[in-house]
């Protein structure tokens, strides 16, 4: 297959490139002539949703991105946040939704590869990874196959690369039947004075290509990632990229070695629309032109056209601008690691992006405008309709013990062990909390006491009911999960997964979710430092649940003062911190309603950000003071599920007394926000606990003593005692049982 460069540009061809007629007109105006075929490809790559953020840019700008610890916010390969001692944590989250639906193993694997590259491109060695996964209904015919492939793909790549997976999410909902979500997060450590950026500096310097050879992988991939799925999905298949973690691991080591030599001026990984996006970005950021000679590009297939080379998404490749006097040294590093190293271009002073091939100039475009002049839309949106509150007294009844057992053994809250045991969770030897708790925690290698916590969260059903509250809740839950380990939440990354933004109701979801996220980040001092937007997640006109995933990072000054979720000992006081006096009342959008009664009604729970902050700060202080022996925030399934998870984590039971004047269903299964369970090793009658309560009261936080740990049962008031072993069997059973009939 060869595609000539002098092909005629027809309206159909323009449409095939995902460009609207007015967008094409803009191209004509900008360059004053018809583009060559290669140029059309370059524009389509630069101006599609994925690279240009044309639908979301206006709203993303409203997010808080600054803070005393923020070294680099959005706009680079990853965000950079100061963690003290001249070190920084570098992190980002990115989606690989469409590729993972088409080929789950390779799609998810290359998603991991991409996010790891974003992190080590900046000079950071990856130290932690997470993955947030959303699949269709468990009984949908494709779900098992997708779960199995995606999990194996993430493991296959991450395990071989050698980064511990410390957390993530897995959810099932029929709204993802035709469009799963695979969001991958990675974080790396770097010295603050050795961070590398993509901005090229200096004229006449070599532009160097590193890593794997270029093939036809994913040609058109970036365009595909932004296109709505239709029934012609089969035809889009040949663009699948195959990951090579062995090459990525060598690329990591070679890049870090090369950076240490001082040879690197600018570096950019080749992700979506590989050579095009990376070269344009390096040049445009540095106010420089770039000239590429495609005859120098290492290729692994014959007769590749310039169009294909410019749009190839072959993995495990990097572009750098190097100090010319260090080129030989740089080449030696790459030869040691047996990776391709080729000088493929030069920086110029004319702000043009020029591409040469076999003696011809196949592209000559204004480099700044390629990015800066990309279309930006203020798409029309409509305000989401928020569901009415549940009628007074509308509390569907079920035996509390039966309900808890059903939820613990249901797809929403069952243990994800089946998933995370396929991931290497302890490589590097720094994992202090592996998946299964509130947040993953690693120690900072080389530091005696410092730790970092990671969590990924969003509750899509809340976002669907109320994108604004749902956006707030996603941030708050992430912040809460970090806090529950004793960490100080530092900053976050977001991965905004939505449907087709050309539909005003979807755009309305995006606008309101961003508003909620922004307000929560501001109130919780939790700036957004990087992120990714994935739109057009729909199949045949049905959008996914709005899913703005938040990945957060927290800092523990001393991991010896860190909380875990398992009850630590018998006879300890259990406090419910941050709850209303009724403990809980909010049943709207709860999993109690959804999973036990098939109801998806009612408003999403409200997040009181000021109260959230006060409560979290208080919880963290208690953990750091050493009085807390275990801590767990409440989320899906409310108080009952929270208690059960703490019991199951250690095998220790508990007895909790009912509030007599409150419906047990509400107090045990309400999903009111901003609540933590904590056990303390304090005498219930003693002064220390009294002092704790006085302090809470002064802060306006209610922290009642609701029960005591001990025994082998979980006793929720008047409900039948549930053996912890039975809860554990239910909790651990769902996933392996479900996947056991994988082939069926």
């Amino acid at each position: 297959m060869t595609i000539p460069n002098d092909i005629r540009i027809t309206p159909e061809l323009v449409a095939d490139h995902g460009l609207k007629p007015d967008e094409y007109q803009k191209i004509l105006d900008l360059i004053g002539r018809e583009p060559t075929y290669t140029e059309l490809g370059i524009f389509s790559a630069m101006w599609n949703e994925h690279c240009s953020y044309k639908s979301s840019k206006k709203w993303l700008k409203t997010l808080p991105t600054k803070g005393p610890r923020v070294i680099q916010g959005p706009g680079e390969n990853a965000g950079v946040v100061d963690i003290g001692d001249d070190q920084a944590i570098v992190f980002k989250m990115e989606s690989h939704n469409h590729p993972s639906f088409i080929e789950p193993y390779q799609g998810a694997g290359t998603g991991m590869g991409g996010i790891l590259r974003d992190v080590f491109t900046m000079g950071a060695r990856p130290v932690a990874a997470m993955n947030a996964l959303r699949f269709g209904a468990p009984d949908h015919e494709k779900t098992r196959h997708l779960v199995s492939g995606v999990v194996a793909g993430i493991g296959g790549y991450g395990n071989a690369f050698g980064v511990p997976t410390v957390g993530g999410e897995v959810e099932f909902d029929e709204r993802y039947n035709g469009n799963i979500l695979v969001n991958a997060f990675a974080a790396g450590l770097a010295d603050t004075d050795k961070i590398f950026y993509s901005k090229a500096e200096g004229v006449g310097l070599p532009v160097v290509y590193l890593g794997a050879k270029t093939g036809r992988d994913g040609v058109g991939g970036a365009t595909m990632a932004s296109a709505e799925f239709g029934d012609d999905i089969e035809e889009k298949r040949p663009t699948v990229q195959v990951g090579d973690p062995f090459t990525e691991k060598r690329l990591l080591e070679a890049c870090l070695e090369l950076m240490a030599t001082g040879a690197v001026i600018a570096i950019q990984d080749m992700g979506a629309a590989g050579l095009t996006c990376s070269a344009v970005e390096m040049g445009a950021k540095g106010d420089l032109g770039i000239e590429l000679d495609l005859d120098k590009v290492p290729v692994r297939e014959e007769q590749m056209t310039p169009y294909e080379m410019m749009l190839s998404e072959s993995q495990e490749r990097m572009l750098m601008v190097l100090h010319p006097e260090k080129e030989a040294e740089a080449r030696a590093v790459f030869e040691k690691w047996e990776l391709d190293f080729a000088t493929v271009g030069v920086t110029t002073d004319d702000l043009r992006f020029r591409v040469k091939w076999q003696g011809d100039e196949v592209a000559n475009l204004p480099i700044k405008e390629l990015g800066d002049e990309a279309p930006e839309y203020d798409r029309p949106w409509t305000a989401p309709k928020v569901p009415a509150p549940l009628a007074a007294g509308d509390v569907p009844q079920m035996d509390v013990a039966d309900a808890l057992l059903a939820l613990m053994g249901g797809h929403q809250t069952a243990s994800r062990r089946w998933v995370y045991e396929q991931y290497d969770t302890l490589i590097q030897g720094n994992s202090l909390q592996r998946p299964g708790g509130d947040a993953g925690v690693i120690r900072v290698e080389g530091h005696a006491t410092k730790g970092l916590a990671f969590s990924s969260d969003v509750t899509p059903r809340y976002c669907e009911a109320d994108p604004y509250e749902g956006g707030k809740q996603a941030v708050a839950e992430c912040w809460r999960n970090l806090t529950a380990t004793g960490a100080e939440p530092l900053a976050a990354t977001d991965n905004l997964n939505f449907g087709n933004p050309e539909r005003p109701e979807i755009m309305g979801q995006l606008v309101h979710a961003i508003k909620g996220i922004g307000e929560a980040c501001l109130a919780l001092e939790f700036p957004i430092v990087s992120g990714n937007v994935s739109l057009y997640n729909e199949t045949n006109g049905q959008g996914i649940l709005p899913t703005p995933t938040i990945g957060g990072v927290g800092l523990l000054p001393d991991w010896n003062q860190m909380a875990r979720i398992g009850f630590a000992a018998a006879n300890e006081v259990i406090l419910l911190i941050g709850a209303p006096p009724s403990r809980g009342t909010h049943l709207g959008q709860s999993i109690y309603l959804r999973d036990l009664f098939g109801r998806k009604d009612g408003p999403a729970p409200h997040v009181d950000l000021a109260h959230e902050k006060r409560t979290g700060d208080f919880v963290r202080k208690l953990i750091r003071s050493g009085v807390a022996t275990a801590c767990h925030d409440l989320s899906d399934g409310g108080l009952a599920v929270g208690l059960a998870e703490m019991a199951v984590a250690s095998g220790i039971g508990a007895t909790v007394t009912d509030l007599t004047d409150q419906d047990p269903v509400l107090q045990y299964f309400g999903e009111d926000q901003g609540r933590y369970l904590m056990t303390v090793n304090l005498d219930p009658q003693g002064d220390d606990l009294a002092a704790l309560w006085r302090e809470a009261e002064a802060l306006g936080i209610f922290a009642p003593w609701i029960g005591t740990t001990g025994g082998i049962d979980l006793v929720l008031g008047a409900a039948r005692p549930l053996p912890v072993a039975e809860l554990k069997t239910a909790h651990e059973g769902w996933f392996p049982n479900y996947m056991a009939d994988e082939a069926a």
Partner: protein, 80 residues
Amino acid sequence: MKARVTVTLKAGVLDPQGQAIEGSLKSLGFGGVASVRQGKVFDLVLDGTDEASARSELNSMCEKLLANTVIENYSVEITN
């Protein structure tokens, strides 16, 4: 009845395994190797004796499980 199913990567699909093997063969002194691509074979023993129906079963096994038709081709052969 015995059958062999051979599954190979489609042209153009990256084959990291093949590449690594190629590199290793070269460093072991096999200089004349221009390229290596790795695939799979499945040797099956089937009940039944009708070749035509076996063939169609095997094709359907490939489509459903043995091959990942997004990136792989397959071929089916009755070996006895």
